[in-house]
Symmetry: C2
Subunit: 208 residues, 2 copies
DNA sequence: GCTGATGGAAACCGATCGGTTTCCCGCCGG
DNA sequence: CCGGCGGGAAACCGATCGGTTTCCATCAGC
């Protein structure tokens, strides 16, 4: 029979923490975490130094999962544009769930305001991974200002996921189409690598 | 002399609540709120039913201030495009402060996950005001799909403010230039009302 | 079968939570 | 001069917080 309680206490605890904290916020008590995980506080405190460390570890554990979910599978030799849009397609897919609460990394950083908090730093690294993915694809596509494009894509990703998470928008094409629009403007069109209207020049503050 | 403690207890309380909660999150204790406001819990509880109501009232009080700060002054007969960009310019201006923590409405909704919470509903109305402003300007500018443009602008606004708030980006032109890019694509160019490349057709789910 | 490590249940600790109440000072009109 | 009252200070309440400790059931190796 499949014993419901097979995985190690550490894994149960981190999984429960990730799920509970995602649903109820970082304010969730450790009693609730331990009960949900079927782990005693005693075990928890000999695995981790405290709640902060559990939180950070839970986020760390989520990072590879999120990357695997969002980023194109390794064996996919798609064009940069498609690889970027893939991320937004996965976002929209996830956002259709009524339980979707936005990007867990962004939420963690918003909730624990302190940027020095261990979990906040883990979350920041998680976000940086996506930013670097965007930048790498932009470079691979020969975009004039890859860093600028990556920052814009991150703004759209975080804005779309946050708004979907709080129920302010249902997306359904909004994130993908907006990202596509930014890619077009950067010259990363469907046809091929950078050669659009403004390969260079589009930075700074164009409006007075 | 200017007596430091002039305004009514209610005003002191709401101002202190807005500031403290913005800085430290909705988890801030009422003891801390009252002490910061120089108001006794006794007074607070005969002014409000509880912490939730204080939170909601503090956010309600912030809405007109935020609108006045972000939206163009009433006497400004600028073109729709300029009126929209004005919002993003104010955002970037505010984001230069090291104390900037992002949009207080979005933060409140992210922190108290419950959309039914009184304060969350106040915050949702606050965000809706901006969305409607964008939509009205888009319509005034003759944009083909004003609702779509408004949603995209909100995504950029929330994404940019959130990322600036958590210290992931410094903006400095990013929000304004990205918004301008969206306006261009919607046909709301510097020259005049809608007549760009794709006045209609650009909605739905363009990617598989 | 015995033993020792693992780990869950739960009592316990001081601090703090949201919320209520008591007390008393200072300011007001009469 | 005084009586009423708005309102701050602070004690108090039960619940819960993060964190520690005790106790005991289980199970693997011998």
């Amino acid at each position: 029979m499949t014993t419901t309680t097979k995985p190690t206490p550490r894994d149960r605890l981190l999984d429960a923490a990730a799920e509970l904290i995602y649903r109820e916020g970082v304010g969730t008590g450790i009693d609730a975490l331990c009960k949900a995980a079927g782990v005693s506080k005693r075990s928890m405190y000999q695995l981790f130094a405290g709640k902060d460390e559990v939180l950070a570890a839970a986020l760390t554990r989520q990072e590879p999962r999120l990357s695997a979910l969002l980023f194109p599978p390794p064996g996919t030799p798609a064009a940069p544009r498609d690889r970027v849009l893939h991320v937004f397609e996965r976002l929209e897919e996830a956002a259709t769930s009524p339980d979707y609460r936005g990007c867990p990394f962004l939420a963690a950083q918003v909730e624990l305001k302190d940027p020095g908090h261990a979990a906040s730093e883990v979350a920041a690294r998680g976000k940086q991974a996506m930013s670097e993915f965007f930048r790498a694809e932009a470079e691979r596509g020969g975009v004039g200002q890859p860093e600028l494009l990556a920052r814009r894509l991150m703004v759209v990703y975080d804005g779309a996921s946050a708004r979907a998470g709080i129920g302010a928008d249902t997306l359904d094409g909004l994130a993908v189409s907006t990202a596509a629009l930014l890619l077009d403007a950067a010259g990363l069109t469907e046809n091929g690598p950078a050669s659009g209207p403004d390969t260079a020049e589009e930075a700074g503050a164009p409006a007075a």
